[in-house]
């Protein structure tokens, strides 16, 4: 039930400002993202610096780090995810209430980073949970995390959530369960090694080019 953009700007010229319920809702959501207080490795130190006074995450309404997944909207995967830790990360993500978002912070959380060849390092958290924003860097600077948060805010702003809307783009408001399978320890690797619904292993096509 979005108002026509042309009519909106026409009304704005006459001094009448219109806003949709969706707009108010998203404005509230994007300015009160509560992250899960959860650090894995050295990226967490940068995350702490971001929350502290010099970079001041509170400017974006996201300073309330929650020690419980029940109260958190955002999971910042800050650091190397070992295979020992991956099931816990997925379980914590499953315990967060919808709508929920994930920022993969740093090279390790994206792909395993410098430890990619290690036997016990998960090659990217996006193998098990859906990631909204990736931050490259090793570790990324606090400014990069702030930029990721602003990117996430833009994403939230563009989502439609309310059932009054014909097309709901926010996954959390759709039908069906939002539980992602928690991997278990197998003989050599996590079982399954990745969630086939989320992640597709990149393959290098061999061609007979001369």
């Amino acid at each position: 039930m979005a108002i026509d953009e042309g009519l909106k700007s026409e009304l704005a010229k006459a001094g009448i400002f219109t806003i949709t319920l969706e707009g108010v809702y998203n404005w509230g959501r994007k300015n009160s993202i509560w992250p899960l207080q959860f650090g894995l490795a050295c990226c967490a130190i940068e995350m702490i610096a971001t929350a502290a006074s010099r970079f001041d995450l509170a400017r974006f309404g996201a300073e309330v780090f929650r020690p419980s997944p029940r109260q958190a909207d955002l999971m910042i995967v800050a650091g190397t995810v070992t295979k020992k830790m991956a099931p816990q990360v997925v379980r914590l993500y499953n315990q967060m209430p919808e709508p929920k978002y994930v920022i993969a912070m740093g090279a390790c959380a994206i792909s395993g980073g410098p430890f990619k060849q290690g036997y016990n390092v998960l090659k990217g958290i996006d193998r098990f949970i859906p990631v909204d924003v990736y931050i490259p860097g090793c570790p990324p600077r606090p400014e990069a995390l702030l930029h990721a948060l602003m990117t996430l805010q833009r994403k939230i702003d563009g989502q439609t959530s309310l059932p009054t809307n014909a097309t709901v783009t926010n996954r959390a408001y759709g039908e069906g369960s939002e539980e992602y399978p928690v991997p278990e320890f197998g003989e050599h690797d996590l079982v399954p090694p990745y969630n086939p619904d989320l992640f597709k292993a990149p393959t290098l096509p061999r061609t007979n080019a001369k």
Partner: protein, 123 residues
């Protein structure tokens, strides 16, 4: 019925009370209305630290431990009182000895009574 200034003050109080209730309950109500509900097995688990929970939240533990812990607290707090006294013990003279012995005596009386009652014995 007309409201005098006295009743009016109470009216203001009532309005403020209603506003404070609405301010607290309103956000909860809005959240309850618009929140997407997606309960799942993992989400409904009682433990929320990432580790898989085992058994039930309703477990029994020995109530005897309560008295045991209480006796421990008495002794632990006694040290907090005795340390500052020990610092200025020499300057207190004979009175210090009196304070210390009477304080420790009272505490040992209590602990001794608990001991005699068999609190410190596990069976």
């Amino acid at each position: 019925m007309t409201l005098g200034p006295y009743e009016l003050n109470y009216l203001i109080l009532g309005v403020l009370f209603l506003m404070s209730v609405a301010f607290a309950v309103g956000p909860l109500l809005i959240a309850w209305l618009i929140t997407p509900r997606k309960p799942s097995k993992i989400k409904n688990e009682m433990y929320e630290c990432g580790v898989q929970s085992e058994t039930d939240a309703w477990v029994q533990f020995k109530v005897q431990y309560y008295v045991y812990a209480l006796v421990f607290v008495i002794v632990a707090i006694a040290t907090i009182f005795v340390y500052p006294l020990a610092v200025i013990y020499k300057s207190l003279g004979g009175a210090g000895l009196l304070f210390l012995t009477s304080f420790l005596g009272l505490i040992s009386l209590g602990v001794g009574y608990a001991w005699k009652k068999g609190v410190l014995e596990w069976s």
